[in-house]
Structures are given as C-alpha cells and as structure tokens.
Amino acid sequence: MKRSIVMATALTVTWSLPAAAQTKDANAEFEKFRAEMEESNPAELFELKGEELWKAKRGPKNVSLAESCDLGQGIGKVEGAWVKMPRYFADADAVMDGERRIVWCMTEKQGFKFADIAKKPFQGANDNNAPDITNLVTYVASASKNMKFDMPLHDDKVRDAYETGKAMAAYRAGPYDFSCNTCHGADGKRIRMQNLPNLSSPEGALRGVQGWPGYRMTGGVMLTSQWRMNDCFRQQRFPEPKYASQAVTNLIAYMTGNANGQMYKGPGIKR
C-alpha cells in the first residue's frame, strides 16, 4: 500500500518535467531529479508483476519459470543471473542475453509460441500495461541490484558474440551511412541535447547497460535493452533487428563486456 502511494506520487511529479528539457540547466536538474527518483523508481511496480509471473504456473504446459527456467545459476535462481548474461546456454546451444533467455524458457518450458511473444514485445506509448516479457525482464534484472557486471568473456562462445557485436557496431550502411559508432563511438557527443554514451568505453558501456530495462518518463513506459537496440536501428535508418535474435544478443554482449566489473544499480529511470 505504502509502495503504491509512492508510485502514484512519482508518476505525477514526472509529467511536468519533459516540457522543460532542452537546456544544460534542465539536464542538470533532471540528473538531480533522477537521483532522487531512483529511491522510488516506478520500475518497482513492474518488478512486482514480473515476480508474480515468474512464480505462476502458466502456458500450455502449465509450469512456472521458477520451477523450470535456468538463467545460468541453476533452475529458478534469479539472484545475480542478470549481470552474468549474456552467457552460453548448452541446452539452446546459443549465447543469449537475459531477455532472449527468458523468451526461450517461455517457449521451451511453458509452451508459449514465439510468434505470439514477438508480435508485440514492447510497451507502446498508449499501452496501459507492459508485456509480460518486460515485467519478467525487470524482475530478473532487479535481482542483480548492486552486483557487478560479470559476463563470462573468457568463454570462447561469449567472446565470439562480443567480438561480432563489436564489428556490428562499426558496420556502416543505409541511406545515411550510419553505424552504431556514428553516434556512440566517441566521448562527449550529443544529438541535440541528448548525451550519447561512448559504448566502447567502460563508463559509456555502463550507461548503456544500466539504463535498460528502464522506466521512461516520456509516455510512462517500461522498456528493455531489446527495445533500445530496436529503436536505435530505426534512428540509424536501418531495417529492423528481429526480436530476441542473435544480432541483438551480440550487441548487448559487446556493451556488457565493456561494462564488466562495474556495479549494476538495478532497473533504470530515463527521461
């Protein structure tokens, strides 16, 4: 009860902010505001829903993820799993990021159809609720709060995903000749007033993986790294990366590898 009151307050406060935007002062103001907001991040609401979903018997096979899904730390174990992914999963013979792994568990263990999950995997600005997968991701990510990123880069398969992701980030094509690195390959760059993290640096990569899953005040939606990659390619003027594909895992592996050793603060909050 107390929690929901905090949540409601947080939501009201946020909506007056984005209009201000656009100046350096506003940026500083927002950073201060965000630091305060982290104490009562609306993401908690999505974590709670995700926890219920994780423990509930669901899907055609009527099993819970808690009793069937191995995120790399043993069946049902979520503590510390998020910061140790992407990792190699022998049962799927693939390197998977957290969201992709949960989707795999939903299809392989619970019997959901991939096409049904992939049909609308992200919360839209007009949607009241986030998709189940977003809630699950938020729950799993929150269970690594205040732990250090520790993606197993020493594993050759993970290393291949990382190096392939690095090469993907440099790949220029499309009508504007853009790559990921056009915006995210150097320090101190901005698009308009939006600061762009340099994903090749430990600090920039941390900003990348710290942000998502994150609660986005504009629109009041919960969004994941899979969404962030998708929308980056939209702005890059590329075609769309398929949901929960190896391509997206590789990019997340590149960022997480560069962020390794630094503290994850739990689901983020974004303008």
């Binding site: 050759d156 504007y176 056009t182 101190g188 939209r234 075609p239 190896q246």
Partner: protein, 209 residues
C-alpha cells in the same frame, strides 16, 4: 639436465598459448566483420520504408567498413573522385536560396526511418549534429559548430559551390565522414540544399550576424 632446460620454456609457451585462447578473440578482425555481416543479413527484416536492401553496403561504405574508416591512399583517391562525380550542381549556377526556409530544413530531423512516411519530404537533420544559428541552443556536437560559417569563410562563388557540394555529398571531401550524403541519398533536393547554403553563407542569415 638437458631435458630439464628444454621443458621450462615449453611449459611457459603452453601456458601463454592457453592464456591467449581463454582471454582473447579466437578469430581475426576480418573474420568477425564477415560474421557480423552474416548475422545482420540473417537477423534483420524490412520494416516500413526501410527495405532489406539497405543492409548492403555500397562501394564507399564497404571501403570505410573494411579499413576502420581510413582506406589506403590509392583506394581513397579513387573513391573520392567517384564521390565528387556524383555531385549534381544547379543548372542555373545559382547557389544561394532562402535562409529562412533553410533554417526550417535544418531544424527538421524527419526522414528515412521505418516510422517516417516515404512520401513526406526529409529534413536536413542539421541541428541534430551541428551548432548553426545563434537562437537555437538545442544542438548536437557530432559535427563541428557552423556558427559564423559564412562570416569566417566569405561568400565567394567558390565557397558557395563548395558548400553546396559538401551538403550534396560530404564524402567527396572527407571520404569516411560521419555526415550523410544528403543529395546523393535523395534526402534533400536542389532547392532545399540551396536554402541550406543560404543559411550558412548569406550575410543576412543569423548564422553570420
């Protein structure tokens, strides 16, 4: 004794080899570039106006991709000539359009994404990356500041022609520039580019006040 001396370096070599395998990349950069391309071609799909063909790098993009944006001189010279040859100069030999209209084009970030309608005109996206006019404080820093562009460079016919050509195809002057080839890509038409040239060079434009 002899054997003992031989085995130590061998053990060191084996250890170093194992460390190399466990710690670093197992393939060459070129192999990872190919893997990246294969992955992109397999895992991306057309959406809206962003057709699948956009994934295929053209000759210039391929050269920049293969050489970390720094192709060897001979290749670079050949490609730079080809890029310059794409620039279509205005038939009327006039380069200065309307700077007010240019400001609007510079402000617009629309165009070419899968959520943009293909039939709508694209914007110049200029403020996304450049400081330009003194009254717009929300500007990006991916490209250099263009405030005072004409004031420092003058307004000669050569400068007008260069500025037009640069916007039409930035790669003709800086081969692997981050700047899109707006004319070459079909994003901006002749009139729009002239208006942008005016925004940058017209003495009456706020950029030069």
């Amino acid at each position: 004794m002899k054997n003992y001396i031989v085995t130590i370096p061998a053990a060191v070599a084996v250890t170093a080899l194992l460390a190399g395998c466990a710690g670093g990349p197992s393939r060459s950069e070129a192999e990872y570039r190919q893997l990246a391309l294969d992955t992109i071609k397999r895992d991306f799909q057309a959406k809206g106006q962003a057709k699948y063909e956009r994934l295929t790098a053209d000759e210039l993009q391929q050269a920049c991709n293969a050489h970390a944006n720094n192709p060897p001189p001979e290749l670079a010279a050949k490609l730079a000539g080809a890029q310059l040859a794409t620039v279509k100069l205005p038939a009327d030999d006039k380069y200065l359009g309307d700077w007010k209209s240019g400001e609007k084009i510079a402000q617009s970030g629309r165009g070419f994404t899968w959520s943009d309608k293909a039939e709508n005109p694209a914007g110049g996206n200029c403020y996304n990356c450049h400081q330009i006019g003194p009254n717009e404080s929300s500007f990006g820093t991916v490209g250099p500041s263009l405030l005072g562009y004409g004031k420092t460079r003058g307004n000669s016919p050569e400068m007008q022609k260069y500025t037009y050509s640069k916007i039409f195809n930035a790669k003709a002057f800086n081969l692997c520039s981050e700047m899109p080839r707006f004319g070459h890509a079909g994003a901006l038409n002749e009139k729009q580019i002239k208006d942008l040239v005016a925004l940058l060079l017209d003495p009456a434009s706020p950029v030069n006040k």
